[in-house]
């Protein structure tokens, strides 16, 4: 009898445990976002980000930044959530970049990004419709993360330094955001388009003062992106065969071509070596 009961008890133990599935017994003890403690909010925000609940992640990161505006981790998390929430389709971007690099004559990253607004030119548009559909939101998100209270604060070293100003990850991603902003702004203004060899086509003649300002801002963004990549390149002592080195060359070429355009005579960009961030 006792053996039967023992076996039944064992079965009951298993049934009880398997009934829980993978749920946590105390899972309801903590309500996400309920605490005002920064560490708790950071944990909740990260969990929401991992669960791809970007709206919640933004809400929690915002609370942290309200309490501690210098938190680099919160700045980075808020920026990541902002871009993710805007619908920036990383998979589509990477897929198209892979396609770009697979083609023998088209192997550069920067023009790939610069064609983000070329919905009317499918032959050179490497971005999928999913990104183009979200373009206004993506453009706004990129502009937001590059405002002075977010990514530039990390790069300039005016935040808490937990993410170092020379962090390769932060610098590479900031460089991409800068290039994205430059390309979308210029494209949006309809001033010119860039082909895959970094030569400018369809440059509008007789730029107005406002259009010239767009060009100046775009040039500054590209120069700043160059500085970000230079920082990574030098810090990691990368060789010429590295991806970062290739991208740095691309950005350098883009800026050089931009400056050489006769129609941009009014652009007052000083030098590529100036960090305008």
């Amino acid at each position: 009898m006792s053996r039967i009961v023992s076996v039944l008890l064992m079965c009951l133990l298993f049934a009880g445990l398997t009934g829980c599935g993978k749920n946590n017994l105390f899972g309801s003890a903590h309500k996400a976002g309920s605490s005002s403690d920064v560490k708790s909010l950071a944990a909740d925000a990260y969990a929401a980000f991992q669960a791809k609940d970007y709206v919640k992640a933004l809400e929690y990161y915002k609370k942290i930044l309200d309490a501690d505006p210098s938190s680099t981790e919160a700045i980075y998390g808020y920026s990541s959530s902002t871009l993710a929430e805007s619908g920036l389709d990383i998979s589509a971007l990477v897929a198209n970049l892979v396609k770009q690099t697979s083609a023998p004559s088209v192997n550069h990253l920067t023009p790939a990004l610069s064609t983000i607004a070329k919905a009317s030119a499918p032959a050179t548009n490497i971005l999928p419709q999913s990104i183009i559909d979200n373009l206004p939101k993506i453009r706004a998100a990129v502009a937001r993360v590059l405002q002075s209270d977010l990514l530039p604060k990390i790069i300039k070293g005016t935040a808490d330094g937990v993410i170092a100003p020379d962090s390769a990850d932060a610098n590479i991603n900031t460089a991409f955001c800068l290039i994205l902003r430059a390309a979308t702004n210029v494209q949006d203004a309809g001033i010119f388009t860039v082909n895959s060899d970094y030569t400018f086509v369809n440059i509008k003649s007789g730029l107005t003062a406002a259009e010239q300002q767009v060009m100046v801002d775009a040039s500054k963004d590209i120069a700043s992106a160059f500085q970000r990549l230079k920082t990574v390149y030098e810090k990691l002592n990368l060789g010429n065969d590295s991806s970062v080195a290739d991208i740095k060359k691309d950005v350098d070429a883009l800026l050089t071509n931009l400056k050489s355009q006769s129609s941009l005579a009014g652009v007052t960009l000083a030098d590529i070596n100036t960090d305008y961030l």
């Binding site: 008890l9 944990a43 969990a47 892979v98 962090s167 990850d169």
Partner: protein
């Protein structure tokens, strides 16, 4: 007593001081497959080689020596299997990625982005661990050499370009546990033990966190080597032979690991400066209970033969960052149980609230042992936030396992021996009237009285002579063999004053449901 107070004050101070160190190291902690199956709770049980890391004071419970050789734990996180399954499911597409249509590429990358970035694959393999423990002696001691290698990685979505974190340790520890048992405790019943584990630690570490995938093209992981010495303390109080209360203080005062400088030798590498890491001290408490019987129906119970043990731990109770009396406290709770049927063990429990399973099989004469555990660790701040599910298989050659406290009929508690000896001469059929008094029910305190007071026993008048009721609760009073007076026997109840208080009940065919199944245990040992 003054010494104990001073020790506690010093330990608390050292813990708080060590908690202020910012660059904390992860503890060098060899988690046993048996505790893992029981929800990670083991501080108050600690009756095998795992006691070296969970609570050295528990070694005094052992009835004999134990030798473990070639203990090889293999632990993989479930995400390793998920990763492997993903690869198997998409093997063809991944190998022919360039030939896929753009939409298929996007679909595949979406799967990677959605699934892979949530994975945290991790593998831990123990190098053959070896340990030896003596039985309970004036100074119970042991020695062990343990080593394990762990490596894991995680993709992070980041801003635009994803990043990867790679982390791993190769730990080696030479440990010497020492323990002593006090057979009496001032003002309290039962026994107490104290113990310590002295540790020499060597750690080789890889820690490359949030590296951009573009950096990874030039990734050359660098091992940074460090070593240090540490000490754990443990205490165990046994108010009865069935209850254990445990306390463990790991890395007393904080264990420092001094790392050597590593100079970058390749492109993409950075110099790693020499530094001193600190393993913060933790205070862990636990309780263990080995019931003599379990009631499964009113009036019905099974004798466990000591084959079941329940354990519960609260770990890191003094952590000021993740407080015990806050939402973070639930993460510290571990509880579980183990049932043994000869060479087979079945375990279950909750590790920070996540269900755990485990089991083991041992071949006694050959010394072969195989154990398995499935559990989840909480990698977030709160219970239920970010689980990491794990499988672990441990193979070992081991002799002397059965001399631990919670190994079923192999070891008998003193209390059972005493009660059984006392009840042996009493024929059950002579019991009339049949009181519903369990021999080892809570009323035992009134039953077991010194011989001098037998003539005036303080017997509870609330004892109700109904059908025998079995309580799973064990006695709390230490037992002296000569003092046992089983009240079921009218022959020994010399004072009639007790009898009127018990209303006669109808004769019961089997009145002694609470009696042990076996009335004699000739092989049982007494300390």
């Amino acid at each position: 007593m003054q010494t104990i107070k001073r020790f506690i004050c010093l330990s608390i101070t050292a813990t708080l001081l060590s908690a202020t160190v910012i660059a904390a190291e992860t503890p060098v902690f060899f988690r046993g497959v048996r505790p893992l199956g029981m929800g990670g709770a083991f501080v108050a049980l600690s009756d095998d080689q795992n006691a070296i890391f969970y609570n050295p004071a528990g070694l005094t419970q052992r009835q004999g020596s134990q030798f473990v050789a070639f203990e090889i734990p293999i632990n993989i996180s479930e995400d390793v299997l998920n990763f492997y399954n993903f690869y198997q499911d998409n093997k063809t597409d991944l190998e022919n990625f360039d030939k896929l249509t753009n939409q298929k590429k996007i679909d595949l990358l979406n799967v990677i982005n959605d699934r892979i970035t949530t994975y945290r694959p991790r593998v831990r393999v123990g190098l053959p661990n070896t340990s030896y423990l003596t039985g309970n002696k004036n100074i119970t001691w042991g020695a062990g050499i343990f080593a394990q290698a762990e490596i894991g990685f995680q993709f992070n979505r980041s801003l635009i370009i994803p990043s990867i974190s790679v982390f791993g340790n190769i730990d080696a520890v030479a440990a010497i546990p020492l323990a002593h048992q006090f057979n009496s405790v001032p003002y309290l019943p039962g026994k107490a033990s104290i113990g310590t584990t002295l540790k020499a630690i060597s750690r080789n570490k890889i820690e490359e966190l949030n590296k951009s995938v573009l950096e990874f093209q030039n990734f050359n992981p660098q091992l940074q080597s460090g070593d240090g010495y540490g000490m754990d303390l443990g205490a165990m109080y046994q108010p009865t032979t069935r209850w254990n209360l445990g306390l463990q203080i790991t890395d007393v005062g904080g264990t420092t690991i001094k790392y050597d400088k590593v100079t970058a030798s390749k492109a993409g590498q950075l110099d790693k400066a020499a530094y001193t890491g600190m393993i913060n001290s933790q205070w862990n408490t636990g309780v263990a209970y080995i019931p003599s019987k379990i009631a499964y129906w009113p009036g019905k119970a099974i004798n466990t033969h000591d084959r079941i043990v329940f354990v519960g731990d609260i770990r890191d109770i003094l952590n000021t960052d993740e407080r015990l009396f806050d939402d973070t406290g639930w993460k510290k709770v571990h509880m579980g149980a183990e049932m043994r049927f000869g060479p087979i063990s079945v375990r279950g429990g909750f590790n920070s609230g996540y269900p755990t399973f485990g089991g083991g099989l041992r071949v006694p004469y050959l010394g072969l042992r195989a154990d398995y555990a499935y559990w989840a660790d909480e990698t977030g701040r709160f219970a239920g936030q970010l689980p990491e599910w794990n499988h672990q298989i441990t193979l070992a050659l081991s002799w002397g396992d059965a001399k631990g406290r919670a190994y079923g009929n192999d070891v008998k508690s003193e209390e059972d021996v005493v009660v059984k000896k006392a009840t042996k001469p009493v024929p059950v059929k002579n019991i009339s009237p049949a009181p519903a008094v369990d021999l080892i029910a809570p009323t035992t305190g009134q039953i077991l009285v010194p011989p001098t007071s037998v003539t005036n026993p303080v017997t509870s008048t609330t004892v109700t002579p109904v059908m025998p009721v079995v309580s799973p609760v064990t006695p709390v009073v230490p037992v002296a063999p000569a003092a046992v007076v089983p009240v079921q026997s009218p022959a020994t109840a010399t004072t009639p004053a007790v009898v009127p208080a018990i209303t006669p009940a109808p004769p019961v065919a089997k009145p002694a449901a609470a009696l042990p199944d076996k009335l004699s245990v000739p092989s049982a040992k007494k300390k």
